[in-house]
Symmetry: D3
Subunit: 333 residues, 6 copies
C-alpha cells in the first residue's frame, strides 16, 4: 500500500508530485509573512520524518479535521532550501481503515518479532526455580503486557529507538547473561535471567508509541524503574506462596539496574546478580551505540578510516571502527 517512504524523498526532484501515507507527529497553526495562516506539520514513517507545509488550509482538498496521531494520505512534492527539505502538501485526507498499516509508520526492529518472542519464552521455559518461572509466565501470559512488551521501543529518541527495541535489547542481553553466568559459578542464573527480562518492563508504561515515541506524564513523574517495580510487585502479590526473600531480591534487581544513584537507581547493586545485570545492560547499550554509529558513518559514505562524530551515548567521545581502519590501506610512515 505505502510504497514511497521519507527516506526515498532525498532522491526526488523538487516539484515532482507523488502520493503517500504518513503518521502525523505534530500539527501547528502558523501565519506567513503576508499574515496568511498556514499549517506546519511533522510527518513521519518508519524511515524518518519530514516537515510538511499546507500553504492553503482552506482548500477543500485539505481535510478539516485531523490531528497528531492520525494516519493521513498526502499528495504533494518536496522543495529544498540549503540543507533542509520540506514537503509542500497540496491534498491531505485521513487514511481509510485498512488503507495503511501503522506498523509502516514508525521505525521498527529489523529482527523477526515472533522469533525474538520465542527466544524470550525459551528463556522462561529454561528456568529451574519454580517461583521465578511462575512469576515470569504469569506476566508474559497477560495479553496486554505481552503486546506492549513486543511493541515497546527501548527509548524515546527516534534515532536510538524503534518498535520492538525493548524486546530486541532484552534478547541480546539474555545471550550475554547466559555466557557470563557460565563463567561465574557464584551466580544464581535464574535470578540473573529474571532480572534481564524484568529490568526495563516499566518502559511499557513510561513510554507511549501510538503517535510517535514519547513519555507519558505518569512516566515522567514516576519513571520506568518505579513503574516496573510496581508491576512486578503486584504480580508477585497475586501469586500465592512466592517467598518473601525472593520477592525482595527480584525487586532489588529492577531497582538497582542503573547502577548509580545519579542515574536514577535509588539503590546500588548489592548482590552479585544485580552487579552483573548493571554491567551487561550498560555494556550492551554502549556496544549497540557503537555499532549504530559505524553503520551511520557507512550510510553517509564517510571513509572507514576516519573517526566517527561525537557519540552522545558514549559521553561524547569519538569512536574508531577497528576492523575497517586496519583493513584500509594505511601509508607506512
Amino acid at each position: 500500500m505505502k510504497d514511497i517512504y521519507v527516506a526515498d524523498l532525498a532522491g526526488f526532484d523538487d516539484g515532482r508530485l507523488f502520493d503517500s501515507f504518513f503518521l502525523v507527529l505534530a500539527k501547528q497553526q502558523r501565519t506567513t509573512k503576508q499574515n496568511k495562516p498556514y499549517l506546519n506539520l511533522i510527518l513521519g514513517d518508519k524511515t524518518g520524518q519530514i516537515e510538511g507545509r499546507v500553504w492553503d488550509p482552506g482548500d477543500p482538498r485539505i481535510a478539516r479535521e485531523f490531528e497528531r496521531g492520525n494516519l493521513v494520505k498526502v499528495r504533494g512534492c518536496v522543495s529544498r532550501f540549503d540543507d533542509r527539505m520540506q514537503l509542500k502538501v497540496d491534498q491531505l485526507r485521513k487514511a481509510l481503515p485498512g488503507e495503511a498499516d501503522k506498523m509502516d509508520m514508525l521505525p521498527a526492529t529489523t529482527r523477526d518479532v515472533q522469533e525474538l518472542w520465542c527466544e524470550l519464552e525459551k528463556a522462561v521455559a529454561g528456568l529451574t526455580n519454580p517461583d521465578l518461572k511462575m512469576l515470569l509466565s504469569t506476566l508474559l501470559a497477560d495479553a496486554a503486557i505481552a503486546k506492549s512488551y513486543r511493541e515497546a521501543p527501548a527509548a524515546r529518541q527516534l534515532h536510538h529507538a524503534w518498535l520492538g527495541g525493548l524486546l530486541e535489547h532484552v534478547v541480546s542481553l539474555l545471550g550475554l547473561a547466559d555466557r557470563v553466568a557460565a563463567h561465574y559459578p557464584m551466580l544464581d542464573r535464574d535470578l540473573l535471567v529474571s532480572g534481564v527480562i524484568l529490568h526495563d518492563i516499566g518502559k511499557i508504561r513510561e513510554l507511549e508509541w501510538e503517535m510517535g515515541f514519547d513519555y507519558t506524564v505518569e512516566g515522567v513523574l514516576l519513571g520506568h524503574i518505579q513503574m516496573g517495580v510496581d508491576l512486578v510487585a503486584k504480580t508477585i502479590d497475586s501469586l500465592s506462596g512466592f517467598p518473601d526473600r525472593l520477592r525482595t531480591l527480584v525487586l532489588h534487581m529492577v531497582l538497582s539496574h542503573h547502577g548509580k544513584l545519579e542515574f536514577g537507581s535509588p539503590k546500588l547493586p548489592m548482590i552479585p546478580e544485580a552487579l552483573v545485570l548493571n554491567f551487561l545492560d550498560d555494556l550492551d547499550a554502549k556496544m549497540q551505540a557503537a555499532a549504530g554509529e559505524f553503520e551511520k558513518c557507512a550510510r553517509e559514505g564517510r571513509p572507514p578510516d576516519e573517526l566517527t562524530g561525537k557519540v552522545w551515548a558514549l559521553d561524547q567521545r569519538q569512536l574508531l571502527n577497528t576492523k575497517a581502519w586496519l583493513k584500509s590501506v594505511a601509508p607506512q610512515k
Copy 2:
C-alpha cells in the same frame, strides 16, 4: 522497676555494686591476654549505652543462654580507664516477664505519643479530598501499621534517633506545612498534608527497633522510599475508585521527597507540593540537628559563646547559638 540508668553511672564510684536491667545490644566471645575467654557486651537503656565485661562466663551466676535483644538483670560495678567507662558484670540473668519494661530500654521521645497521634488524626480528619482522606484513614486504621508508626525512630543512629521519632518529626512537619500552605495559594493543601504523613512511612519496614535500632536486610536492599511507595500503592489498589492521576501524584510525593537523585530519590520533585515537601523536610531535619547540638553543648557545660563542634547533619559545619552568644558578655573591641 528499673531505677538505675546508664546516664546515672557517670556519677558512680568505681567498684560500687548495683543491680539494674538492660537491653543486650551486642554479645561477643573474646579471649584475655592470659588466653582466658570472657564476654564482651554492649548494654543499653533509654539513656545511653555502656560496654560490659563478664570476666568469668563460667560462673554459675552468669546465665548460659541469652543473646542480642534480650532484657537482662545485671549486678556489677563500673570501672574507668582514661576516658572510657566499663561495666564489670558479676551476675547476669534474663529478666522475668513483667520485671522490666522494654520502653525503658531504648531512647524514646519526650513528647506524649498519644497526643502526637491525636494531632496526626486531626490532620487526617481535616482533609477535604475524600480520596486522600480514605487512603490515610485506611492506612492508619491498620493496627500493625499504626503500632509501628507510633514506635518507629526516624533514623538509626542512637544520638539522632529515638522511639516515636518518626511520629514526632511528622507532627512538626504538619505544623510547618500548614503555615507554608497558607502562604502559597497555588498549593493543594490536602496533597501536601498527605505527602507529609506518608513520605517516611517506609521507615516502619526499613528499620527495626526491637534489639536496638538497625536496618533490616530488606531495608538495605530496597530502602524506605521504595518500601513506602509499595505500601501506599498496595493500599490505594485495595480501595475502589481512587483516581489514577491522584495515585500517581501521591506516589510521586513519596518518591521525590529526598529532592536529589544522589540522595536516593529516583525522581526530582516536579509538582509544587513535592517541591515544598522536600524543602520543609530538609529544613526541619536541619533545625532539629541544630537544636540537638545546642542542647548537647549545654549538657557538656561548654560556654554559650563558643561554636559547636562539626555537625554531621549539616555537612560538618560548626554552628553558633545566636541568642546565647548575643546575651553573653562580649568585650567591646
Copy 3:
C-alpha cells in the same frame, strides 16, 4: 500617551502603519546583501522587545543622534518571517521631555509599589531590637537607597525580572519568614526579618535598569553579596553603639544567604536564622519560577494536563500543574 505596546503587535497585520514610543535597548550599524548600510535596533517597552530595522538611515525623517537608553518615537509597521516578527521603521526621533514615561518602557511589577513599601516599613516598625530597627530605618531613610530599592529588579533576564521585583520578592519572603519564625521558638525573629530585608540589597548596585536590565562592571567584579555587605557595614559603622557581635551576625546573614560556596556565598549559614533565610529565599524563588511557568503555559494555550517545558531555575526539570491536571478529564485506564 503610549497606547500601543509590543505585546499588541502580535495582532497587527503586516504593513499596518502605527506610531508609538519605545526604549532603545541596542543599536547596531549593519550592511545589506547589496552592501547598503542599515540600522538594526532592539526596541522595548514593559510588555516585551522587538527587533527593529531602519532600511534607510539617511532618510531625513530618521534622527541622526540617538543611542541605547534613549526613549524614541517611531512610525512603522510589522513584517513577519516564519516565527519571527520585525518592526520596519519609517520615521524615528527622540521623545520630547514629558511625551513618554520611562516607567512604561520596562516590565514592572503588577503589585502596587507603594503598598509593598508600606509592608516593608511595617516590618521594620515591628522590630523590637532597637539596634536592628535603627539600622534598617537609617538605610531606608536614605532617599537614594529607598528609590533604588523600590525600582530594582531581582535579576537581569527580562523574563524573570521586572522593576520592583526586588521589593516584591522581599515582601513575599517577609510573610513566609513570619510564619516560619512562629514555628521555631529557637529563632531570633528580629534577626531573621532584618536578614530578609538586607540579603539582596547589594542588587541595587550590582544591576542597572536605566537602559534595560544589566550588570554594572562593578557588579560583575564584586557581586551583590559583597556590595550588600559593604553597604550594610558602612551604615552600621555610621551608627554609634551598634553591638560588635550583632554586626557580625547581620553581615553573616547577608554573606551566607546563597547557602553554598559554589553559589557564591563565601561562608555557609552557621546560625539558625541564616539557615532559615537560605531555605526560604531558595524556596520562594523556585515557587515563583513554577508559578511563572504555569502562567506562561496558560498564556501560550497549552493544555493544562501537559508538562511544562524544561525550567531553567529548577535545574531544567519539567513541572506539572497539580490542580489543573487533576481537574482536567483524564480517561480511566
Copy 4:
C-alpha cells in the same frame, strides 16, 4: 621445613614456645617506658602478619645484623592484649640458605601457577593475527618478564593481593573475554585477547614483592599504565614490520583500560575492543571482591543471612550473599 604459620598462632596458648621461619617486613628500634631499647618487628608469611617484640636486643641469641627483606628463624611465644596478639621473640637468626622457602613467606595464589601459565600460552597460540602472536610470544619468551609475570601480585594491599595474582586475574579475564567476543561479531577477538594479556603488564615494574608488596619509586612516578605502554612499545619497535596502525591500537588498549580520566587512563576507550576490555576488567575485579568478602564472612563465622561489612572495592557498599540468604530459613511474615 616451615610448619607453623601466622594463621596457626591464633590457636596457641600464651607463653607456649615454638620455632618458625618468617619474612621481616619491617624493623624499628624503639624505647620502653623504662627507657630500655627494644626492637619492633613486623613478621609475615603467606598466611598473614604479626607484630614481633624483641625485648632484649642485646641478648647473644638475637642476631646483630638482619633487616627488612631477610628470612629469619625465630623462637618465641605469643601474648595477647584485648584484640591484639604479639609475638615475644627470645631467639632470632637469619635463615640459612635452603632452610626456608621464600614462596612460603608471602601470600600466593591457590591455583597451580604452571597450569595458569599454560592457559596463557594457549591463548597466545590461539591467536590468528601473526603480528599480535609475534608480539606476545616475544614478550613472554623473555625470561625475566615471564618470571615476573608469574610472580607479580595484582595489587599492593596484602588482603587483596598475592603472588601470582596478576596471572590469575588475566587468566580469568581470558575466559570471560572469550565468551563475550563470541557474542559480539563486531569485535576483533585477537586484539581483545592481546589487550587482556598486556593491560596490566606494567605492574611487573610498578610493584616489587621481594620484601612484602610495595610500589617502586618509579612505579609511583610513572604508574603501571605508562610502564606497560613503554614495555610494549619497545618490544613492538624491536620487531620488524609490525603495522603502525596495529601498534597504535595495542597501545590504546593498554592506555585506556581504566576507562576514565579520573581513574588514571589518559584516554577513554575509543574502539569496541577497548570498551569491552575496560568493562570486563572492572566487572572481574568487582566479582572477585564480592567473592572474597563472602569467604571472609564465612571464615569469621558470620551468619549467612547477614549483609557483609562495607566493601572498599565496591564504593563502600554492603553486599548480600544471594544463595546463602535464600537458603537459610527465613520466617514468612
Copy 5:
C-alpha cells in the same frame, strides 16, 4: 604573489571581481533548491576562512580535480546576506608550483621563527647537566623533529592556534621558568628547562597542519602526552649511559604536566620541578587567552571599559582590561 587575503574581503563591495590564492579546507557536493548540483567550499589563508560557492561545477573554467589540502587560484566576488559573507567562485584551478606559498595559507606566528629557534637552542646550550643537554641536542638535531617543532601549532582551533604556536609558547615559558627557578633555590633548573622544552613535543604527532589544523587519528587515540613520552623515551634509550633515575624524572615531567587526572595527566606532579611546570604552563596559557581576548575586543571596536565576552579558556568567565578601564574617563559617583 598573494596580495588579497580573506581579511581584506570585508572591505570589498558585493560583485567586485578579484583573483587570489587559497587553501582548500573543505569541499562538499550539494544540490540547489532547483536540484542543481553545486560545490560548497571552505577556503582559507592565514588571515581567516570564507565559505565559497561554485554554482556551475561543469563550467570548463572550474578544475575537475582538486581536493582538501590543495592550493587553488580563484576568480570570483563576495556576496553578503545578513551577517554572513560568501565567495561566489567563477573560475578555479590548482595553483602551479611556486605560484603560491603555503606559509601564506595558514595563520602563523607574528614572531620571527628563526629568532625563537635561537632562543630555544640557547636554552639547551645553557644546560649544565650533560645528560639532559645530550638528550635535547639529539632530539633537536633530528631534522624532521626540528622542522615539525618549528611549524607546529599549539592547538587545533584556528582562533587559538597558528603555525609556530608551539615554539612561541615554549619560548615564553622558558623566560618565565628562568625567573621562577631563580626564586626557588630548591629547584633543579636544568630539569625544569628540559621539561619546558619537552612537555608538548608530542603535539608534533598529535596534530597535522598541512590542510588546516586537525588531530591525527593516532593523536586522538594516544594523545600528545603519550606520544611525547614515547618520543622522549625512545631518544633516551638510543643514548648510552643516560641515568635510569633521570629518565624516570624526565618522563614524569611530561606525563604530569596537565596537573590533574581529569585533564589527561595519568599522574599528578610529584617533584617540585613538575609542580612548577604545571603552574607556569597553565598560567601562560591563561595570560595568552586574556591578551588575545583584549586584542579581539579592540579589533572589534568595543569600548575599553566594557567587560569582554565569556572566555572559553578561562571557564567562560568575562575579563576586564585593567589598564584600559582605569584610563578611560569614569564618572565619579
Copy 6:
C-alpha cells in the same frame, strides 16, 4: 630564662626531674580508674606540644588558679608509653612577670621580622601609583595593624603555622610577583604588588595567637577574605579622592584570590593581576609545603631516596626530593 624546650625532652630519660616554662594550651579536669580526679594539660612552647598530667591537683605545690593562655613554671619529668610521651607534673605555678617570654612559647619564623618588615616597606615605597601608595602607607602606619601583621601566623595548624608566618609568606610572594610582573608587560605592577600585600590581611582578625593559634568566632562567621575586604574598604573610604574604579579593582583582588568559588572566593579572578595573584599565592603555598615536607623527612632521618608521606596541602599526594634522589647511589638496572 627558658632553656629546656619540648623538642629537648625526646632525649630525656624517664623520671629525670627538670624545671621549665610553658604556655597552657588546654586544661581539663578528669578522673582516674580509681575515681581520683587529675588534671590533663596541653603544654607548649615554640618547638612543639606535650601532654601533661597533674596526678595530685590538691598538692599545695600545684597552683589553684591558672588557665588556658597562662605562662606557667613547671617541675616534673617525662614518662613514655609505646609511641607516646607524657609530662608528669609535680609542681606548677604561674610565671612571674618577666620570668618568661611569650615569644618563646609559640613557634615563630626563623627569619628576622624587622628585615621582613623592611622589605614590605620597600615594596610600598617602590609603588608609583600615588593612590595605592597612600592606601598601603595608611594601613601599615596604623600601629595596631602593623603589630598584628608582623605577628600573625598564616594559618592555624601548628605544623604549617608560626608567628610571623603571614609576613614571611607575603615577602616571598613579593619577590615572585616582581619577577612575573617583569615577564608580562600587560600587568599593572602596582596593582599586583598591592594585591600581594593586602590579600591575606584579614587573617589578622580571623586568627588569634595569644593562647595558641585558633580562629576567632567572628573569623569563622565571616572569614579572612570578607574581613580583609572590610578593612581595606574602610581605609580607602577614609582617604579623600581615592578613585572609585581603583577601589573596585583592589577589593576584587582580595575577594578573588582563592581562585574558585568552592575555595571561598565569591568571585573568580577577572583581571590579569587577580589571575596572577591567585596562581602565585597557590604556587608559593605548595612550594613551601613541599620544602617543609622534605625538611621533616630529613629531620626524621628517612633515606633521601624515598618518597615522603602523603602531603595534606598537596591533595594527599606523595612527593620526591629531586636533588636528593638523583644524588643518592642508585643501582643501574
